[in-house]
């Protein structure tokens, strides 16, 4: 049924359809409405789940871990400083191979204190062993929450799904909420291979010596390497049942493109509008949407971009002392064992701390990359007041 929903409630509805069993969360702007709605659904009996109020995000993740280890489908949501406070336990959750799903509303890190959108909070968690998905619109938000559980449970790895602060979290748009029966068909109840069970006691999280730790890490990496195939397959299955398919990435007019924009989150939506405009003028512009950032879809990206002459990566984030993070990852992906891309790769940074990104800003990026033979700087700062 089609509804007009804000992004935060699209997350809540997704979690409800996924029949989450435990929600443990701490409020933080701009995420609060996600758990506010879930708390209400638990209170009025529409969702049969245990809602655990906690005193911090660290405890939220700890509660999710405990309940997931006991075999429950566990969910939490946070943002920015809250995600940073969870950092230790993000490692713990993935190391414990617990398929927890976390919704993170992308918000800039303080200080300077800022509640607006930026990707640095989630990208800073890229090495914690969580899968990461970035959403373009509220429909994708709802659909991704549901798929995240199926992906996480198949891989025994946690999943973080990400939406932009305000631009999605507080924006209302049309979302088709699938019928419950369809989602029940798509997502069966969680049946863990191992779980805490008083009738069948085991030890969890014991000391692992150098004799075995190395192999445990190897296995985590092997599961990550399996992820792209699982994500693609899950996206296809979702399409067959619900009618909307998803993949690790999406190409838009890339085939004959002279320049391809690479973006994630709502920057994709703006870029899509700009690609339409340039294509209508006969300019060969394409767009690559990175939906899954972790594991980075290296092989798929290489296949699409290896023969593209120019690439412009648009980052709403910064790794200080390096560059935009998607820019780094993309460059690494294009320098591989089966050949090296000869593309000119431009790295743009834009919209930090929620600075508004308009269509003309994306157009300016396109014009720069079309005009210049190569980038004039390692980082091209868009809209910077100098």
């Amino acid at each position: 049924m089609k509804k007009v929903l804000m992004g935060n409630h699209a997350v809540s509805y997704g979690a409800r359809l996924a029949r989450v069993e435990v929600i443990a969360a701490y409020p933080i702007t701009p995420q609060t409405q996600i758990v506010e709605e879930l708390s209400e659904l638990c209170a009025n009996g529409e969702l049969d789940a245990k809602f655990i109020k906690v005193e911090s995000e660290h405890s939220a993740m700890a509660s999710c871990m405990g309940s997931s280890a006991a075999g429950a489908r566990a969910f939490t949501a946070t943002s920015s400083q809250g995600l940073a406070l969870m950092h230790e336990l993000l490692h713990f959750a993935s190391g414990s191979r617990l398929p927890i799903v976390l919704a993170n509303v992308n918000r800039a890190m303080g200080p300077g204190w800022n509640i607006w959108t930026e990707q640095t909070d989630s990208l800073a968690q890229r090495d914690t062993g969580w899968l990461q998905f970035y959403c373009e619109n509220n429909q994708e938000v709802l659909d991704t929450v549901i798929q995240s559980f199926k992906i996480a449970e198949q891989l025994a790895l946690p999943v973080m799904m990400v939406l932009d602060a305000f631009i999605l979290s507080h924006t209302y748009e049309i979302v088709d909420v699938p019928e419950r029966e369809l989602i029940d068909k798509f997502l069966p109840p969680y049946m863990p291979e191992f779980k805490m069970d008083v009738d069948d006691p085991h030890a969890f999280g014991a000391l692992v010596t150098p004799d075995n730790y190395y192999e445990i890490r190897y296995k985590m990496q092997k599961s990550m390497e399996k992820a792209p195939q699982i994500v693609t397959q899950t996206g296809v299955e979702y399409g067959e049942i619900v009618g909307r398919s998803y993949d690790v990435l999406e190409t838009y007019f890339c085939d004959d493109a002279e320049l391809v924009l690479v973006a994630a989150g709502t920057l994709v939506s703006n870029s899509r509008a700009v690609v339409q405009e340039y294509r209508s003028k006969g300019i060969k512009l394409g767009l690559l949407k990175i939906r899954m950032f972790r594991p980075f879809p290296t092989e798929q990206v290489r296949k699409i971009l290896l023969h593209i002459p120019k690439i412009a990566v648009i980052d709403r984030n910064i790794s200080f002392g390096a560059s935009g993070i998607f820019f780094q990852e993309l460059k690494a992906a294009l320098y591989g064992r089966d050949g090296v891309s000869e593309a000119r790769i431009f790295g743009f940074i834009i919209g930090l701390g929620g600075r508004d990104v308009r269509l003309q800003d994306i157009a300016e990026i396109v014009d720069y990359a079309l005009e210049e033979e190569k980038p004039k700087e390692d980082i091209i700062w868009m809209g910077l007041k100098r």
Binding site: V4, T29, W116, I167, T171, Y172, E173, D356, V357, R358
Partner: protein
């Protein structure tokens, strides 16, 4: 695409008005997007909310800078903020006010329309006498003056979405629809 900006003060219901208006257009098969000013809002401080309407999927994800129409929930905002900023020529300014349109001398360049939404809301006991909730009333007036959306769609959106006194809110919308002065 049609873009609308709603001016109000924190607590007056500008954000809900933007959502209700989006829902009314959605009921007519349009693609819609509505959002508040991104930030921290205080009761009584000037706020704005926005609506986009189109026949195709809306891809643009920026703020609205050049609205087609403006709705002003609180007449004191006319002197406090530049409510016409970026307004496209030929666009409507709909003001909740007891004054006549021609009394807004500094808005002469634009099409001005007024409705006494505060009085309508107060008579239907929406909010309090000193702080009436005028958002549902003014949407009825918007439907009338612009002709962009049917009053029945506005009434349906109000009836479904307003959590308290839906009947009274619908009556207020209808009354404003009938009494708005162009």
């Amino acid at each position: 695409m049609i873009e609308i900006r709603i001016h109000g003060r924190g607590g007056q219901g500008a954000v809900i008005a933007s959502k209700l208006l989006a829902m009314a257009f959605f009921k007519e098969g349009k693609f819609v997007q509505s959002f508040p000013t991104f930030g921290v809002e205080r009761r009584g401080a000037p706020v704005a909310a926005f609506v986009r309407i189109d026949d195709k999927q809306i891809l643009v994800r920026s703020q609205i800078y050049e609205p087609d129409h403006i709705i002003v929930l609180d007449p004191t905002l006319i002197d406090a903020v530049d409510v016409t900023q970026g307004l496209k020529p030929g666009g409507w300014i709909l003001i909740n006010s007891t004054q006549k349109p021609e009394e807004f001398g500094n808005l002469k360049k634009f099409k001005v329309s007024v409705v006494d939404a505060s009085d309508i809301a107060a008579r239907h006991r929406l909010g309090s006498k000193s702080h009436p909730i005028v958002n549902t009333a003014i949407l009825g007036a918007f439907a009338k003056i612009t002709g962009l959306v049917k009053i029945d769609s506005v009434l349906a959106a109000v009836g479904e979405e307003v959590p308290v006194h839906p009947e009274e809110n619908m009556k207020a919308s209808k009354e404003a629809y009938e009494s708005v002065v162009v």
